[in-house]
Amino acid sequence: MTAPLRRGLPAIVICFLAMAVAVLAAPFVGSTPINFGRVFGASVPFADNPDAQIFFIARLPRALAAALVGGTLAAAGVVFQGLLRNPLATPYTLGVSAGASLGAMVAITFGATWAIGGVATASLAGAFFAVAIVYALATARHRGLSTTVLLLAGVTLNAFFSALILFVQYLSDFAQTFRALRWLMGDLDVASYTPILAALPLVGLSFLAFAWLARPLNLLSIGADAASTRGVHVIGAQRLAFFSASLATGAAVSVGGPIGFVGIIVPHLVRLMVGADHRLVLPASTFFGAAFLVACDAIARTVLAPVELPVGIVTAVIGGPFFLWLLITRR
């Protein structure tokens, strides 16, 4: 008898290769064709080499940002689904993105003169704010985290923050509203490596927690009591899952805006490939989520070229019908 875990390893390798191919190939796709030989050709200095400039300054950071955001959202989705014992949960279910969006809206409307990165910082602050409120609500009456209260608090906060977002937009002028709308659609036009590097430590920290959480999440999904009598520190694991997945989501949203559907359809597809074990689902979803968002972004940049679509529209157009199909064909 072989360990079931080993049967999923090929799928992880495939997902990893898909990510690698996507990140390396996507920069060659775009409204301006670039040549592989010239990008890496050493004969022309970088300053006089438009192909290399397009590749390294415009498109590679964007592909890397898509990979980072896609992988992070997919993994955070897996953790939230495991925590809430609900395969329909998304990274945004508990209000993280609503908080992040509100923060970004406030920054765009009232703090437009801030330094570069102000919107990202404000969105991260908004995310933390939302997380703190949801956590306080969920633990107000119990020592542990009640997943039911967590879910209710998150859903309510989502609705409340959406109303505040509309209010802030009502106060903003035309240009600000347009910027805000673009941000809400999800956009990976990072134009430099800085946002990626800024988000990386937060994401890295979260993934350390994810790695440790993989096995407790398996046990949590058969029930809190069952997990606790098998030796899982249930409250500790739930708390760590909630905060690490929220941190990861907040960091991802601060880079690319609230890009939808990645965090739910990727884990679904991955489970069809590798089964339910979180030790397989987490890494496979991370790699596949990265590949998926890089591909979606490549589509967003080219389908109406030279006009670029916000990537959130592409993921929604692909993800919405796909998800409905999943709902109808699977229970």
Binding site: P4, H142, A211, R215, S221, I222, R230, G231
Partner: protein, 266 residues
């Protein structure tokens, strides 16, 4: 005493009043103890207290004389395993994956199941007759099949890999209403699995039930629980009398008598 509870009292934070009130009981190695009582008498809560899943307001639960609140979580999990009344999954794990989850307390944080864990799982699967279910999705199984797989998971959890008898007599299997949602055939199936387990490994079993026949046919000791208090405890012959059972379920003794007559093992 393998497991002993002294003056346990418990109330849920949001609930009204004590769910378990002044319960003391002793469980010796090799016992099959049935906690018998009507719905809402506190059976499940008592079982959760005995497993250490709940902390009592008052009183203690001790395993081999050591208070279980002081036993490290993982160590406790290798001695006491719980089979809940129903297990519903959020995701499609296979039966084998569920059984292997029982190995959690035996593995380090990043450790992957090794040959020892797989053979523990194999032994547990054989003991519960679930070989054919191994690679099936847990959610596709029937109620009785699910119950046997979860029992296998509990056995894998208690398996300390010691020579002949892998579930040493120092282990406890706690089952909450193991037959409540099962039809007659599956009730027999689960009962025979438990009896076989007990006979082959001398594992100690504590189960809650409101099924008189099931308790009478399987248990060596019976605890009658009524509104969180112990009404009586002893051997089935001592405790399962028309008068006591009538009081327990709040029915006239003459109604309880014929059920008892058919329930006692010949």
């Amino acid at each position: 005493m393998l497991l002993s509870a002294g003056n346990l009292r418990f109330a849920y934070p949001s609930g009204r009043g004590l769910v378990v009130d002044q319960v003391s009981l002793n469980i010796a190695a090799g016992d099959i103890v049935g906690i018998l009582g009507p719905n809402g008498s506190g059976k499940t809560t008592l079982l959760r207290l005995l497993a250490g899943a709940l902390t009592p307001l008052d009183g203690t639960v001790a395993l081999d004389g050591q208070e279980i609140a002081r036993v490290p979580r993982r160590d406790l999990a290798t001695r006491i395993a719980v089979v809940p009344q129903e297990t519903s999954l959020a995701f499609d794990y296979t039966a084998l994956e569920i059984v292997l989850m029982g190995r959690y307390p035996h593995l380090g944080a990043f450790e992957i199941e090794g040959p020892g864990d797989l053979s523990a799982a194999t032994r547990a699967i054989e003991a519960t007759g679930t070989q054919d279910l191994r690679d099936r999705g847990f959610r596709t199984l029937s109620g009785g099949e699910k119950q046997r797989v979860v029992i296998a998971s509990a056995l894998a959890q208690l398996d300390r890999g010691e020579s002949a008898s892998h579930h040493a007599s120092g282990s406890l299997l706690l089952l909450d209403e193991p037959t409540a949602s099962l039809d007659l055939r599956y009730q027999f199936e689960v009962a025979s699995v438990l009896r076989r387990l007990h006979d082959s490994s001398n594992i100690t079993i504590v189960l809650s039930t409101h099924d008189l026949r099931f308790a009478a046919s399987l248990c060596t000791r019976i605890v009658l629980l009524s509104s969180g208090r112990i009404l009586a405890q002893g051997t089935p012959a001592d405790v399962l009398t028309p008068a006591l059972v009538g009081r327990l379920f709040e029915v006239p003794p003459e109604l309880a008598a014929p059920i008892l007559a058919s329930a006692h093992r010949p």
